[in-house]
Subunit: 692 residues, 2 copies
């Protein structure tokens, strides 16, 4: 049932100039629309509330989580720890299948590539960046901007170390260049897995149900942040209210939405629609077919590929619905009209028009320039042509050896000092790598490179004349030692001399491709990115001047907060209720994947309350990266765990449809039911205050 | 080098009202623009020329061919006989790999599902059809039109039998309902394979080179039509001129272009772009991945899947470039403007406007109606959900049993008397069916049906609750006897009683789906097709009245003739030459598929003239179905064998781009070189007049 209070408020809201009409927006913490929330929901969000929520929210790889105990316990999604589960698995045994339960702290499982970041401070450095680039031509400005951001990060980290509270400092670009910030994080780099249920219940319904609702997914897991070998002290944490929220109740979702494209120009949206999505979707679909067919060759194969398959199917569904959204001419027309309106308004302000020129046209021109080398750029530099984890190690090592000796500000951005510890952590992590899967993905991507660049492209002639894609993939993967972390670390520590001396075939390949790939990247940065970034800075200026500052920036995988309420929606005239319940899970199961309920749940069934709420929906404006976000009530209680959106939420990449875009969360009551009656993990029951 | 004569003539042509600007058009033989051709190329095409070419041209399954000897010898493409080669292959041995050479007539290989049709007569029946449907509401008109066409066919066949020259009579709809014709064919249903080279040279470059140019494909084969167990007498045939054409020479391509969409409204093009192509491309790409991965499991698997893989990759490339074409907003805008112009002109003619109303809007509305049940229709009736040859047999048998007892004009169109002999031929043909491939395609399509219709769709609930897609596919395929032609013929001959009594699991499945599938079809016919067909009849009327009759109809896999000349084009500022030569084949080969030259060619190399022309390009306006068409010179000589288009030719589905759309043909000189110096097939050398 849609919230009545929201419906009733619309007329008065329409009178507030510049206000968003819907419960829309991925707001930064410094610019949260408290007044709007107070008017709409009668809720007061104060500084203390914001600070507490900010410090209890963590960023993990690609996801969000929140502290839910004073001892570093982090609540997040099952699907956010799938790479940790895959890393703890072998050919013979899959933790994704079996789940994982640490019955004491000593058995908590090291997640070797996981980190957890808490945003401690934010500093607006827009003026500094704009000052550094003022008056420079686009290419130089682009270069100088990168250098300035690197220098600001470096100075920030040094200062924090001196102060005795070392922080990770990351430059953040908001409003596509309208603002620059330094976000400063407390980083935990020792993160361990405490609990994860079986995939069969965590992702009940699998790919068919993904992005669907109603839903029955126990998509939660628990991690723990450690410091100095001990559970981290986390006094700022959220308390789970296992009763959950009521229908219509206001909820707030802090988290790290990954990426949206709501500020893109129409030309950029069309380039996505016409140039980017179709080939990406074709590649993803074919790879899905290869994975699925490979998985049928045996149980080992199924286990080996399951994590990669899950990620691929998820992104495939996202991309296909994003393309659907862009093919909606009515929506695109609305964008076009809004853009034409803004341009007309700019033209009426002579001084502004004279200063910014026509940045929309500049973007359109830069995209036309990009077309000429789009495919080589994608295949050689963008990763479409060399899809292999081992090859990615090789390229990282080859580039790091060349970049690290340079002055920090002169390196490629991802090799500046701020990023190196994380890179080293990932290189050193002892993660399983399966050569048959490596060969599959590498052969596939080489074959598609030949198709899309054409058999006469120089790179294709060089690589695929004497050998077929399968042959070269087998030779490179089977001949490489890079699956061994010790080999990787020797090359990392050995620098350029070690790289030069290496006879590893993947290192040799990465060496041989590097000059051409760098040239493509430089060309792209100078002729496309530099122009587009400068143009977006100008558009952002125009937007601030004309629309004011009560707007939110596109998502950038940095901390945001939104507001909304628990509600369903109307689908083809039929209301979709906001809550699902446990009874329907058992009715819906078939005994066959992906609709199979684990045996432990079957056994526990007699003891379970079948009316327990399971999942719920809200109109929160979220996107990938918000996975694992807590749903926070007005009084600060944690009342849900976000894990997905409905199918309409995917168009949220470009616009927010308040009528149909819904977020989907795990209800806390089913977490309580699981921990107390199914898995019976005593220490966790204790730690979460569930003991009777 | 583009033809100079064409460039020079453009200004004067622009003055001819209503004339096509380019060498454009898939013209019917009754309306060939002789005057235009005379002016442009100085060539006179008379009735005798047209008759001779028409009677020498044959239609085979999905392709074209031409008689090239008085003894029924048919020249066509290698890729047009691939299903015959696949049918003659086994798990252990592939005729696609090895090629096939009949060194005498007694060893010519039966192509069990092949036919060859020669168009003997054409009769315009537009007035009869329009009379029958006049004044009826759309649904009734649609029904009556179908019945009328069936009755006309039936009467035509009876009359031809009475006259002693039995013909196949097929109703043909041209101009999307602007004209109706009866095309009357002499049919050869005993067609045998005489010669086919190895796939490595016939399809040199494989999928990467498909639709590319320059090219080196020996994509030819020879069939022979038989009558009464003897080679057919074919006095009307073309004589091959093994010297081929000169650059700039006028060439004419008779053949059976399959399908174009140049007359579709903008709303229909957008429905293709937004609704049809994306899911079809995703399915095809995934299936490609499954096929490719399956082929890696062994040499048997590779052989089993090769023919299906070739077809799939070919259609995938076509569809992806068709989508690219529709994503070209500039082209779509041109279509939109032309449509707006036509609508405005209609509105200025009051009587016409009053009579036809707004058919464009009606089409748009019908497409909106279609959206609601598009996916169920595609999956249940359109074949997307049950991708299996055995299942298609089952459905044909189930439907035939229900339809054949009905009066001819009341049946589903494809079960009317005219189609039954061909259906019976296909059911009776002893073709190999590989259960592992059947399981793969059926499981795949069931899994996608679950994804796209959703796990809660009734059909999904019914089929995929107790079993996974793999399980149900294995049970159905392994339990079915339909791979045996005798089993199929028993069900065909046994009628409804045999179908009712059958316990074959695929027959049972087809029985259980039939009511729902028929309901969807009826709904689609009544609410979508009927409206759109009626609207297109009105648009055709408007076009004839406003634009005159010197226009050509969309392709319908019926006989057409175009005109053009031998020429290359300019690609990104660089001229592409119209001829390739043998020397470059050997330079381009890598020894690895798909760039491997067969051993027999390596051995023959010293004797070959390396300057022999290999392939050539022309600006002929062709499309799939023209494969195997002869290139006919002004004086009637056969100077080339069409087998492909360049990449730009694919947009020919929607518009003809004279600057870049090029057809690609095999040069006769390389056929002579192959037959005389490589394969040395004496009887063919003799029959084709190549003996010294």
């Amino acid at each position: 049932v849609p919230s009545r209070s929201f419906v009733a408020l619309v007329p008065s809201l329409a009178l507030i100039a510049g206000a968003a009409w819907a419960d829309e927006g991925m707001w930064t913490f410094d610019n949260f629309p408290r007044e709007l929330v107070r008017e709409r929901y009668g809720v007061t969000i104060d500084d203390a509330w914001l600070e507490n929520v900010r410090l209890a929210t963590v960023r993990i790889s690609g996801c969000t989580g929140s502290f839910v105990s004073p001892n570093g316990l982090i609540l997040t999604n099952h699907h956010c720890v799938s790479s940790c589960l895959a890393q703890g698995s072998t050919r013979e045994r899959s933790l994704i299948d079996s789940g994982f339960v640490a019955r004491g702290r000593e058995t908590e499982l090291d997640c070797a590539t996981q980190i957890a970041d808490v945003l401690e401070k934010l500093e607006n450095v827009t003026a500094k960046v704009q000052e550094a680039t003022r008056g420079l031509p686009e290419r130089d400005a682009n270069e100088r901007r990168r250098q300035t951001l690197t220098q600001l990060e470096q100075a920030c980290e040094s200062a924090s170390q001196t102060s005795g509270n070392p922080l990770k400092c990351e430059a953040v670009t908001l409003y596509n260049g309208g603002q620059y910030w330094l976000y400063q994080y407390h980083r935990y780099d020792d993160v361990r897995l405490v609990f994860a249920p079986e995939d069969d219940i965590a992702a009940f319904g699998g790919d068919p149900d993904n992005f669907q609702y109603p839903r029955w997914c126990l998509d939660f897991s628990l991690l723990r942040a450690y410091e100095n070998g001990r559970p981290a002290a986390t006094p700022r944490h959220l308390t789970i209210d296992f009763e959950g929220p009521s229908a219509g109740e206001a909820v707030f979702v802090p988290g790290h939405p990954g990426s949206t494209d709501r500020e893109l120009t129409v030309a950029e949206l069309r380039a996505l629609r016409d140039r980017s999505f179709p080939p990406a979707l074709l590649r993803a679909s074919e790879l899905r077919g290869r994975y699925l067919q490979f998985a049928k060759t045996g149980e080992d194969a199924r286990r080996i590929v399951q994590d990669a398959l899950f990620s691929l199917e998820n992104s495939l569904k996202v991309q296909r619905k994003q393309l659907d959204a862009l093919l909606d001419d009515a929506q695109l027309t609305e964008k076009r009209e809004a853009e034409a309106d803004l341009r007309a308004r700019v033209n009426r302000k002579r001084a502004l028009a004279a200063e910014i020129g026509d940045p929309w046209r500049k973007i359109e021109d830069a995209l036309a320039v990009e077309a000429a080398r789009f495919l080589p750029y994608q295949y050689l530099e963008g990763g479409a042509g060399f899809n292999s984890r081992l090859y990615r190690y090789a390229r990282t090592l080859v580039r790091a050896a060349a970049e690290r000796p340079k002055p920090n500000a002169e390196r490629l951005r991802e090799y500046t000092d701020g990023f190196l510890p994380r890179m080293e952590q990932q290189l050193a992590a002892p993660v399983p790598i399966y050569s048959e899967l490596e060969r599959l993905t590498l052969s596939f991507s080489l074959e598609r490179m030949r198709e899309w660049l054409g058999p006469d492209a120089p790179i294709v002639q060089r690589l695929l004349t004497a050998e077929t894609p399968d042959e070269i993939a087998a030779r490179l993967i089977d001949g490489s030692g890079l699956a061994d972390p010790a080999v990787r670390m020797a090359l990392w520590n050995g620098g350029q001399a070690a790289i030069d001396a290496s006879t590893d075939p993947l290192i040799a390949l990465a060496r041989s491709l590097d000059a051409e790939a760098r040239e493509l990247r430089k060309w792209h940065e100078d002729n496309v990115e530099a122009v587009i970034e400068a143009a977006h800075e100008q558009i952002a200026r125009a937007r601030f001047e004309i629309l004011g500052t009560s707007v939110y920036p596109d998502a950038t995988f940095t901390l945001r907060l939104n507001f909304g309420s628990v509600q369903g929606w109307i689908e083809n005239g039929t209301p979709v209720e906001p809550f699902t319940h446990l009874d329907r899970l058992f009715e819906r199961e078939t005994g066959q994947p992906p609709f199979r309920v684990p045996a432990i749940w079957q056994q526990a069934k007699p003891a379970l309350d079948l009316e327990t709420p399971f999942n719920l929906s809200t109109n929160s404006d979220i996107v990938g990266g918000n996975s694992g976000s807590p749903l926070v009530a007005a009084d600060g209680r944690l009342v849900g765990l976000l894990f997905d959106g409905n199918i309409h939420s995917i168009s949220g990449a470009y616009w927010f449809d308040d009528a149909k875009n819904r977020a989907v969360a795990v209800h806390p009551a089913i977490i309580r039911e699981a921990l107390t009656k199914v898995y019976k993990v005593e220490p966790l029951i204790e730690e979460l205050g569930l003991a009777n």
